[in-house]
Each structure stands twice: as C-alpha cells, then as structure tokens.
C-alpha cells in the first residue's frame, strides 16, 4: 500500500526492498540469520590482514616455543592467544582468519570459473542445438558420471608428483581453482541449456532476431537475463560444495600447504595432535568450516524455495 501513498518513483533500493523476494527474505528468520553470519565471516576474513593480531605467513612472528597453547578459556593458556596456538606456534585466531579467506576465495573463484564455462557452453548448446548440442551434452553426461572429488584428487596427485611439492605448493591455489572450476561445469551447462530451450521459442527472441541482432547478442543480452534464477540457485549450492571440496583436498595434502593453510589444511595438521589432547587445532577451524558451509546451504535452500520450487530434486 505504501507505494500508492508515496509520491514520485520509488528508488532502486526501495524497489528491491519491496520486491517479493525481499519480503519472503524478511519473513524468514533462518535466511536472515544465515546471511548475517555469512556476511560477518566474509567481512572478517577479507579484512584478515587488518584485524588479525599476528601474520601467520611471516616466519619471524612465529615462535615454535609457543606451540600448542590451548584457547583462553582452558587452563594453561597464554592470554596473548585468544584461541590458542597450533602445532607450529602460530596464533590460531589469526591463522583461521587467513585460512577462511583462502577457503572463501578459492570457493568463489572456482564457482566463477564453473559458471563462466557452464553458462557459455549451455547457451551455445541450447541456442545452436543440433549435432553440437548432442556432443556437448554427451560430454556433460560423461563428466558428471565421474565424481568431482575423484577427478580432483587424481589430477592434483599427478600434478604434485610431476612438479614436486615445492612448485606445487606455490601454485596450489590456482590448481585448486582450476580443477574444481573445470570439473563441475556440467551442473551449469545442463540447467542453462534447459532454460534456453524454453526461452528460445518465446516471442521476444523472435522479435530480437527480426530486428537483426546477432546470435551472440541475443544469447547474452536477451536469453541469459531470463535464465538467471536457476543460475543463482545452483551457485549457492556450488559455492558450499566447492568449499567442502577444497577443504577435503587440502586435508589429503593435495591442496593448500601447511605454510599457507586453508581451513582444510589447518584441520589436517591438527588431526595429528588430536590423540595428545590438543583438540582445538582441529575443532575450532572445523566449526568455522561447518558454520560457513551450513549458512551458505541454508541460504541456498531458501533461495530455491523462493525462486524455483520445481528445482528441489538437486
């Protein structure tokens, strides 16, 4: 009703606030809390160099004598280290901030790569169709039939053996993004292709073609904006999956090295100390990882309910 009382055009922000999606968001406490937690984690980890009390990448600030101090609320702790220290004497709080940043960056970049590859291939396959479509979708089927984790493990293992761990560790972040990014493109390609096939028959596409627009322009400027909602839904789930994949690979020693740990490699280095009672090196990064993935999944669930109720089978 407020829009009728208001004079003048609503601003863009107001229109977003009044949209159906924002309304259902405000009415859903789980989604609101998830987004708030996600934003807190994201902002804090991106600001890691500013807020972290120590620099975990700087060997000069690390003293092995400080190793395995428990968190502040446990007996025998050192007040300097709020969450305790890890096996190498690094402040766990700072290391987790930096590690979360790495996990988020790898997750987001990998999904960006997936989306770019998948959307391009999906658009082309759906719009051009015919034999090319057939070949591309057959490839997607084959790629999907192999688990991403398996492909990533084998690819990274061979890369590591080939380049030696020294070089591998240096470029680990790029290898991780590349392999997680490439292995999952069919998820996007299939969905985009399906929506393109539906959109292609609509009148606005015909009229665009009659106006003489090229295929590229029609695909990107006309069809793509109308296929965005399933893309959003997939993207949230994919980010959560990518973060889990990265953590799993790093845990196996095929990802980020212990000198530059992501959450997965931190958990992995803590695992060796769990039997001697130093549970915090594993447990605290583990909790951060689970909370991060959980809030992304919850947001994805909400988005799926709002945008595309038919997609629930994922």
């Amino acid at each position: 009703m407020s829009s009728m009382v208001d004079t003048g055009e609503p601003t863009r922000l107001q229109r977003i606030w009044q949209s159906n999606m924002a309304y259902s968001f405000r009415r859903n406490p789980v989604a609101v809390v998830s987004l708030v937690i996600f934003l807190i984690i994201a902002v804090m980890s991106l600001l890691a160099p500013v807020i972290a009390p120590f620099d975990p990448y700087d060997p000069a600030s690390i003293d092995i004598m400080n190793s395995e101090y428990p968190p502040a609320w446990v007996e025998g702790s050192e007040p300097e280290f709020i969450l305790g220290t890890d096996d190498q004497g690094r402040d766990l709080w700072s290391t987790i901030l930096y590690g979360t940043r790495l996990s988020l960056i790898i997750g987001l970049c990998a999904v960006g790569l997936q989306a770019f590859l998948g959307i391009s291939i999906g658009l082309i396959a759906g719009y051009i169709g015919g034999r090319l479509d057939n070949i591309l979708m057959r490839l997607a089927d084959i790629q999907l039939s192999f688990s991403t984790l398996m492909v990533a493990i084998i690819f990274l293992a061979v890369t590591q053996a080939m380049f030696g761990s020294e070089t591998f560790n240096q470029y680990a972040i790029f290898f991780l993004i590349a392999v997680i990014g490439v292995a999952e493109w069919p998820q996007y390609a299939r969905t985009v292709r399906a929506t393109v096939l539906a959109e292609k028959r609509k009148e606005y596409v015909d009229s665009a073609r009659v106006l003489g627009f090229g295929a590229g322009r029609i695909m990107v400027r006309h069809i793509l904006p109308n296929s965005l909602s399933p893309i959003f839904v997939i993207s949230t789930v994919q980010v959560a999956n990518a973060i889990i994949s990265e953590a799993s690979l790093s845990f196996l020693g095929l990802g980020m090295p212990p000198s530059q740990p992501s959450l997965g490699s931190l958990i992995s280095s803590g695992f060796d100390y769990i039997f001697s009672g130093s549970w915090w090196i594993t447990a605290i990064p583990g909790v951060v990882l689970v909370v991060l993935v959980l809030v992304i999944n919850l947001l994805g669930d909400w988005m799926r309910d709002v945008l595309n109720p038919k997609l629930y089978k994922g």
Binding site: S145, S147, I154, M162, F251, L252, T282, V290, L298, K313
Partner: protein, 326 residues
C-alpha cells in the same frame, strides 16, 4: 533396445579408451622407469641400449598401443615399491574398500528409506522438521570432519571403539578377508562406515522425501486411500515402489562417488584399502600404481554408470529408447 545397448556399450568403451590414454600420458611423463630399474650407476651407453630394448624410444603411439594391449590382458605394469604387478596390489586392497562401501550402503539404505518416507508423510511434524534440519547440517559437514569427530568421541574420549585399521579379519577366499565375520571386525568397520555414510545419507533422505511427496499427490494414491487400503500399505507398497526408480538411478551413480570418499575415510581411519594405498603411491611417486588405480577406478565408474543407465532404460517404460540412443 539392442541399438541402445550397443550404443551405450560403445560410449563406455570410448570413455575407457580416453581414460587409458590419460593413464598412459601420466606414465609417460611421470618418473623414469629406467632409474627405478637400474639405479643411477649405469653408463649412458647401457642406458640407451636398455631404452631401446624396453621400447622407450618408440613413438608415443606405438608405446600407447603396447600399453593398451598389456592393459587389456590385465597387465598394468609393476609397482616400484611393492615389486609386484600393480593390478595384484590393487586387487589385494580392493576387498577392504568394497566392504567399507558395502557397510556404508547398508546404513544408507537402512536409514534413508524410513526417514525419507516419514518426513514425506508428516512434513509438518516436529520430528520431521528435526530430521530435515539434521540433514542439511549433515550435508554441510565434510566426511573427514565427521570421521575425526567420531574418532575423538568414541576412540579418544570414551575408548569404546578402535580408531584405525581393520582388526581381526576372517579369510574368505583369494584376496578377500572379511570384517563381517568377527566381533572385532565389526567394531573396526563401524566408525568408518558411519563416516562414509554420513555424506550420502542426508542426500538420500531428501531425495526420497521429495519423490515421495510428489507421488503422494498422484491420483492413484488418492484412489487407494478412498478404497480404504491401510495407510502403511499405501505408503510402503504403492507409493514407495514408484519413488525407487529415481532413487536407484541416483544411487548407482553415488556408488561411484563413494569410491572417491573412501580415500578420505581410509586416510582418517588408516583403513588398508585402495584409497589409502593410492595416497601412499602418490607420496612415493609409484607411477605404475597411480596409473593402475586410475584405470581400475575409471573402470568401476564406467561399469556402474553403464549398468545404471541400462537398468533405467529397461525399468522405466516412459524412457524413449530410440531417442536416447540417437
């Protein structure tokens, strides 16, 4: 039908050929077989002679064909570390991995059906909401973290269950020793199986729930209700039967995926299966073993997927085989 079968088999063979090509390319580029064979102390002249004898100077294509010929006969080279045929090394480790997958499958099948059906019948009940909430938490916890958590609780804190190895296994035949025949074996396989099941169980609960809710809306279920058939019979005989088709399809593919997750579970629990062996082989740069693992695992994936596709084509009358084969 026959045309579809043949086409599907051709696709499977093509994929296997691609995998073998990748495997060969890895073998060709990773490590030097000569050094493994004779060490460093041999003169350059003898080296060249040996290279000729071993055929290492032949063209890539000739070498690939030879590799392929050997592979078809089950010879994937000799492991540098174990000094025995790579295929034998893998076959010795295979039962441990398969038993782990089997244990996890038992848990998944045993729990996902009742939980999925229940959450579909009573979607608004508190318990159903708790199950759905737990399932999204379950999806969000990586396998290795579940495994570590269980080790910490059950092995370190309470010391109820062992944290590593297979324990007392009972020999069955060939390379197959089983965990399912002794109490100690059961206690060793319990935690790894739960850890492995933990990632798939929530997926299956959600899948069964979604399919079941769709089926419960259909006319024939309403008709069965109107006829006065006992609700249990409707749910578990009439409705469940029709939800199983998609579940089996997804499930078949997930068996392949589980092989990947065994690498994580086996690492945490030091389970002496293929996955653990593969990571060790990587650390030792044991190229023939790495390549053999790649080919064996690729084979498992291709076979399960082909079988699932064929079953799907056979069972589902709405699949248009002629079009799928096109």
């Amino acid at each position: 039908m026959l045309a579809y079968l043949v086409k599907r088999l051709f696709q499977a063979i093509a994929v296997m050929l691609a995998i073998s090509l990748i495997g060969f390319a890895i073998q060709d580029n990773l490590g030097d077989p000569l050094r493994e064979l004779v060490g460093q102390s041999v003169s350059e002249e003898t080296r060249q002679q040996l290279r000729d004898e071993l055929g290492l100077n032949d063209s890539f294509f000739t070498q690939y064909l030879r590799f392929l010929g050997n592979a078809v006969q089950g010879d994937l080279g000799t492991s540098y570390f174990f000094k025995e045929p790579a295929v034998d090394v893998i076959l010795k480790k295979l039962p441990a991995t398969l038993e782990l997958v089997f244990g996890a499958t038992l848990i998944i099948v045993g729990l996902s059906v009742p939980l999925g059906v229940y959450t579909a019948i009573k979607p608004n009940h508190v318990l159903a909401k708790v199950i759905m909430g737990a399932s999204i938490v379950g999806i969000s916890i990586p396998v290795f973290l579940t495994a570590i958590l269980m080790i910490y609780v059950f092995s370190v804190e309470y010391q109820w269950l062992p944290s590593y190895g297979r324990g007392d296994v009972v020999h069955v035949f060939g390379y197959w020793d089983t965990n399912f025949a002794s109490l100690d074996g059961w206690s060793h396989i319990l935690l790894p199986s739960i850890a492995l099941a933990s990632i798939m169980l929530p997926l299956f609960v959600r899948l069964i729930r979604a399919e079941m809710m769709e089926v419960l809306q259909s006319e024939y279920v309403k008709y069965a209700k109107a006829k006065g058939i006992h609700p249990f019979r409707i749910y578990f005989v009439h409705a469940l039967k029709n939800t199983l088709l998609p579940v089996i399809t997804v499930g078949g593919v997930q068996i392949g995926t589980m092989v990947a997750y065994t690498i994580l579970t086996e690492t945490v629990f030091q389970w002496p299966g293929m996955g653990f062996m593969f990571l060790e082989a990587v650390n030792r740069v044991d190229t023939p073993l790495i390549v053999a693992y790649l080919i064996v695992v690729g084979f498992i994936f291709v076979v399960t997927n082909t079988i699932v596709d064929l079953i799907y084509g056979l069972v589902n009358p709405t699949v248009n085989l002629a079009r799928m084969g096109a």
